[in-house]
Structure formats: structure tokens, C-alpha cells
């Protein structure tokens, strides 16, 4: 807890400290120097965390595409013209539509398909249980390079390249096992006695799940949904490869299209980046606490 305490023996003397003249620190309190050092380190770390993003916001206010080379000049000509240009003259809303369709589609399918499985592996033991868990674990660590080539071939055969459905299906290959895993962790935290009560009252296993457990698991479902959403939203490799028509680009691809070999419209790119980042990070902050517990729930329970 207090690894940086300078005078470490002080708290120990707490109980028998009465005869001593100097002020006694209570447990968990630090010396002034330690506190100062902690604040110093945390401030520096915060600045490092903040700076690249603040810099992006700052550059997005410069009207010229080479302003990033002369950032000092931006102070004098700050303007929102990049933003209005992006909103009016680029595919911003097309990209937003694509991103939302693909991410929400993945989220919905992922959670709906995975929910019953998460419950089954949380509550039941059946032959093949270990194999299923192993498969769920291994599919989560698939590098994109394993599936991208065969998926590309298969989707070409099915004429699904450059379609939202194709991309959603590709994303589901990771979203579904991951959601199942996440939901299992959440179902594990719901007392088993609730199931027993339901069974005693004559519900089938499905009835127990749909009427008792599912309503209780809403926070878990929300975390799984949110995680699927940001994963699909931020995915780069598949989206860059499978979406060919620039009106179907997701944000991750659209943003790259500002920089081509001939021209780099960095000011517009920065503005778009900021416009994308604001709602997503706001959303992230709303749910971050649940997300963290969801991701490491198993870990802290041991």
C-alpha cells in the first residue's frame, strides 16, 4: 500500500507512541515528501496520458494541412472550419452509419447467441465441457492472420465482400466466444440457490434461465455488449480489407483514407478523429467501472 513511505517504522510505533514527542502518523498516511513525490509522478504520468490526445484536439483547430509542422501559428488562426468541412463535405455520416451498423449488429448477435452458452457452462457439467471451454479460450487468441485469408475467400464466393453482413459475421467469430466467456464469469456471481429455487418451483432449466437469471444478469449483458461494441468499432484489419466502397468504410478505415500517397489532409483527419473520439470515450467513461470488474472478475475471485 505504502511502498514509497520514507520512514517505515513510524506506523509500527503507533500503539506505544505516547512517550515519543514527534507527531505520529496514522496507518496509511504518508510523509509530506512521499505525498509530494506521488503527486509529482502521477502528474507527469497524467500529462503523458493526456498530451497526445490534447495535441490532436489542438491540431484539429488549425485550418491548414501543414499546420502540424508549425503548431505555434495555430494560436492566431484557430477555427472550427475543419469540423464544418468534415461534417459537410466528407463521408463522415456514411462512415458513422457503417460503424454503427457493424458494431451494433455484432453486439446484438454476439450477446444473444452467447447468453445461453454462458449460462450452460456456468451451471452445468456435461461431457465435452472441458473441450468447449478450451475452444472458447483458444478462439479468443486467434491472431487476425489466421482467419483473414480464408474469410476473404469464403466471403468473395458468397458475394459478401464489401457488405455489412460479411463484416458482422467476421466480427462475430471473436465476439461470440468472448461474450460467452464474459457472461460465464458474470453468471458465476449469481447465487446458485436462485436456480435451485426456480427448479423446486417447477421451472425447466430454460425457464430458470429466461425468467430468473437473465433479468438478474442485465449488468453482465451490458458489459458484454459494450465490450463487443468497442472491439467491433475499433477493429482495423478486417474493416480495411473487406470494405472497398468508401461510403461503406467504418471510421477506422475512413480515417486512414485522409492520408494517401499523394496528399495528407492531416487537419481534416485530426478533426474527424476528435469527432469520433468524443462520444466513444464519453460512453467508455460511463461504463468503465463495470467493464474492469467484468474483465478481471475471475481473477480477483481466484
Amino acid at each position: 500500500m505504502t511502498t514509497t513511505t520514507v520512514e517505515t517504522s513510524a506506523p509500527v510505533t503507533e500503539q506505544r507512541a505516547a512517550p515519543e514527542t514527534r507527531r505520529v502518523r496514522r496507518r496509511g498516511e504518508n510523509g509530506r515528501l512521499t505525498t509530494l513525490a506521488s503527486h509529482g509522478i502521477l502528474t507527469v504520468a497524467s500529462l503523458i496520458a493526456l498530451f497526445p490526445i490534447a495535441w490532436l484536439v489542438f491540431l484539429s483547430l488549425g485550418p491548414d494541412k501543414d499546420d502540424y509542422l508549425h503548431p505555434g501559428g495555430i494560436w492566431h488562426k484557430m477555427t472550427f472550419s475543419n469540423y464544418s468541412f468534415v461534417l459537410q463535405h466528407t463521408g463522415f455520416f456514411d462512415w458513422m452509419k457503417s460503424s454503427l451498423i457493424v458494431s451494433l449488429g455484432t453486439t446484438a448477435i454476439g450477446v444473444m447467441v452467447a447468453a445461453t452458452t454462458g449460462y450452460a457452462v456456468s451451471r452445468m457439467r456435461f461431457p465435452g465441457y472441458k473441450k468447449l471451454m478450451w475452444v472458447l479460450l483458444v478462439t479468443q487468441m486467434f491472431p487476425i492472420a489466421v482467419l483473414i485469408v480464408p474469410m476473404y475467400q469464403i466471403l468473395s464466393d458468397l458475394q459478401l465482400i464489401d457488405s455489412y453482413l460479411g463484416l458482422i459475421l467476421v466480427y462475430c467469430s471473436t465476439a461470440v466466444p468472448y461474450s460467452a466467456w464474459l457472461l460465464k464469469g458474470y453468471f458465476d456471481t449469481i447465487p446458485f440457490e436462485i436456480d435451485e429455487a426456480g427448479r423446486v418451483d417447477g421451472l425447466t432449466p430454460f425457464g430458470t434461465f429466461f425468467r430468473l437469471i437473465l433479468p438478474l444478469a442485465k449488468p453482465g449483458l451490458a458489459v458484454a455488449a459494450f465490450y463487443n461494441f468497442i472491439t467491433a468499432f475499433g477493429e482495423v484489419a478486417f474493416a480495411s480489407t473487406f470494405m472497398l466502397d468508401d461510403s461503406k468504410y467504418t471510421f477506422a478505415v475512413g480515417l486512414q483514407s485522409f492520408v494517401s500517397e499523394h496528399d495528407a489532409q492531416r487537419n481534416l483527419m485530426a478533426a474527424t478523429a476528435v469527432l469520433v473520439a468524443i462520444p466513444v470515450s464519453a460512453f467508455f467513461y460511463l461504463v468503465q467501472k463495470n467493464l474492469v470488474t467484468g474483465l478481471t472478475a475471475g481473477g480477483t475471485k481466484g
Binding site: 457439467r125 456435461f126 482467419l147 480515417l255 470515450s281 474483465l295 475471475g298
Partner: protein, 334 residues
């Protein structure tokens, strides 16, 4: 893998009577478990169609010489049939032992290992340090916490572009280094500095997750353990070494494994930071992508073979990791 829930079924079914014959067991098993199978059916179907089938198909492709010139494709109204042929394990042989295999595979392999090890070590150490600082009674620690998870909150594809602006030739970082009369490396061109920049950006992106997970772990350590340690006269380092680290063990083993898998598979950072301009800074994943989609003609077979090799490396590593944890009597949370 999952000890926690055994209580659930153990309690309900208990030990069973002597085993009946096989036919009977199948029938019993069906009657007893049919709803479990019904519940996992959706995922089984989805995984079969979306993962298993492409995986098998990809495995088949690695045994052929498929590329974008001989696979089936449609140009306008003409449909051209596939003409690639079966060549056995030649792709693997070529990748692992063929001429120039060092430049094509092993150099990227070594760099991927270095990349993974360095990134995860940095993630973990910085994350742990910050978590320890945030776990103190400190004014404004909520504010610090919220600012420090910002790199995680903003999508990676956005922040990487922010870094690209900063690292560019006349960007802020080099301007600042110039002003301090320090050498200003060309971050996005020179191989060593490309690698340095990639690790730096990835560290910046990955620390918040570690920090937050470890902070959760720290907060779940019973404070009476610290009291007991203090009573026994342990100094700060000893308390850290013998109370904090053991208390974090189960969280650590989980987040380190996740970190290794994610970093090993990290595509976005390197792809977006360099595009196709940095052949020597590509880790195996981005290199496989380059082979399959970044060059002409696209070499599908080799790219898929890289994918299979990557998956094999990860599976071998994970099973060793778990065996090692088991030997130390730890369970992995996932």
C-alpha cells in the same frame, strides 16, 4: 481452469452409483444433459460456421500455392476458376527453412518476441507502479485515475494517428528534442527508431488496462495482512515483496497472459503507425497481413501459413504457461 463453479453441480448431482454400460450411459447422458447441449447449440453452430470452417479451409490453403492470380475471381462478367494446386507442406518448409527464410520469417519472429516481452514488461511495471501510487490515500486520486485511463478510452485507431502527427519529421517531439539540443531521430523511417516508437506507442496504449486491473487486485488485498506484517517489523519493501506481490498473483497471471496474447496479436498500432513503409518493424501478424493483402500479387497461401504458425505458437505458449501456473499451485482465472 474453473474450480469456482464445481460447487454448483457437485452439490446438485453428487457422486453417482456404479457406471452402467456404454449404451445406457449415452442414453442417460442425453436425457440428463440435453438441455445443456441445447443451450450451447447456438455458439457451437456459430463457431463451427465462422471459425472451424474457415480454419479448416485456411489450413487447406496453406497446402496450396494460392495467390491472387490463380484463385477463383470475377472480373466484370467473367468468372475465372481457381487454378492453384496442392503442394503439400512446401509453404511451411519454405517459410521456416527456405532461402532467405531468416529475412522473411526469423527476423520478424525474433522481433515479435522482443516486442511482446518488452511491451508486456513495460505495461506491467508501469501499470503496477501507477496502481500502487493510486492505491494510497491521496488527494485527487479519482481525477488522476480518470485521466490515466484516457489512452484506453479513446479508440486505438484515433490515438495512433495522434502519435503519428507527433512523431512525424517536423512534429512536436522532434521539435522539442531539437530545442533541447538532443538528436532528433527519424522515428518513422529508421528501423531502430521505428521499433522504439512502436513499443512506446503500444506501451502508452496498454498501460491503463494493467493499471486498472492491478488496482482492483490491490484493493482486494486484506489490509489486516499489512497490519500483521507491520507488527512483525516488515519494512516497506518487505511488505511489498511478501504481502502485495503474493496477493496480486492471481490477477497478475491473468492480466499478463491476456497482455501477452493481445500484444502478440497487436495489429492496429504497427499497421496504422507505419502502413507498408516499414518492412523491418513489422511483427508477424502485420507481416502476414502484408503478404496476403499489402502486396501484389497477394500471396494467400503463405499468409495463411503464417497465420497457422502464429496460432500454433500461441497455443503452445498458453499451454506451457498454464502448466507452469498449475505447478506453482495457481489457477488461471480465465
Amino acid at each position: 481452469m474453473t474450480v469456482a463453479i464445481d460447487r454448483a453441480t457437485g452439490k446438485r448431482r453428487g457422486d453417482r452409483a456404479p457406471r452402467p454400460g456404454l449404451g445406457r450411459r449415452l442414453k442417460d447422458g442425453y436425457q440428463r444433459h440435453w438441455y445443456a447441449y441445447a443451450m450451447i447449440a447456438p455458439v457451437a453452430v456459430v463457431l463451427g460456421v465462422l471459425v472451424l470452417y474457415p480454419l479448416v479451409y485456411g489450413l487447406y490453403l496453406t497446402l496450396t500455392d494460392a495467390n491472387s492470380l490463380n484463385t477463383a475471381r470475377t472480373i466484370g462478367v467473367n468468372h475465372i476458376d481457381a487454378t492453384y494446386k496442392f503442394i503439400g507442406l512446401d509453404n511451411y518448409k519454405d517459410i521456416l527453412f527456405g532461402p532467405t527464410s531468416y529475412d522473411r520469417f526469423w527476423s520478424h519472429f525474433v522481433w515479435t518476441i522482443v516486442w511482446t516481452a518488452l511491451c508486456v514488461a513495460l505495461h506491467y511495471c508501469i501499470g503496477l507502479g501507477l496502481a500502487l501510487l493510486l492505491n494510497q490515500k491521496l488527494r485527487g486520486r479519482t481525477v488522476y485515475r480518470l485521466i490515466l485511463i484516457l489512452p484506453w478510452a479513446v479508440p486505438t485507431f484515433v490515438t495512433v494517428f495522434g502519435w503519428r502527427f507527433m512523431l512525424a519529421d517536423g512534429g512536436i517531439i522532434n521539435t522539442a528534442l531539437d530545442a533541447l539540443h538532443l538528436p532528433s531521430p527519424s522515428w518513422l523511417e529508421d528501423t531502430f527508431w521505428q521499433r522504439f516508437a512502436a513499443i512506446m506507442v503500444n506501451t502508452w496504449c496498454g498501460v491503463p488496462f494493467m493499471m486498472v486491473s492491478l488496482l482492483g487486485g490491490l484493493q482486494s488485498i486484506d489490509s489486516s495482512l499489512y497490519e500483521a506484517a507491520e507488527m512483525d517489523g516488515a519494512n516497506a519493501w518487505q511488505r511489498f515483496r511478501f504481502v502485495t506481490l503474493p496477493g496480486l498473483r492471481s490477477v497478475s497471471s491473468t492480466v499478463v497472459l491476456l497482455g501477452i496474447i493481445w500484444t502478440f496479436n497487436q495489429f492496429a498500432v504497427i499497421f496504422l503507425l507505419f502502413g507498408n513503409t516499414a518492412p523491418d518493424a513489422q511483427i508477424l501478424v502485420t507481416w502476414a497481413y502484408y503478404l496476403g493483402f499489402g502486396q501484389q500479387p497477394r500471396d494467400f497461401a503463405q499468409s495463411a501459413a503464417y497465420g497457422i504458425l502464429l496460432l500454433a505458437i500461441l497455443i503452445v505458449f498458453t499451454s506451457f504457461y498454464r502448466r507452469w501456473l498449475n505447478r506453482n499451485e495457481q489457477q488461471l482465472a480465465i
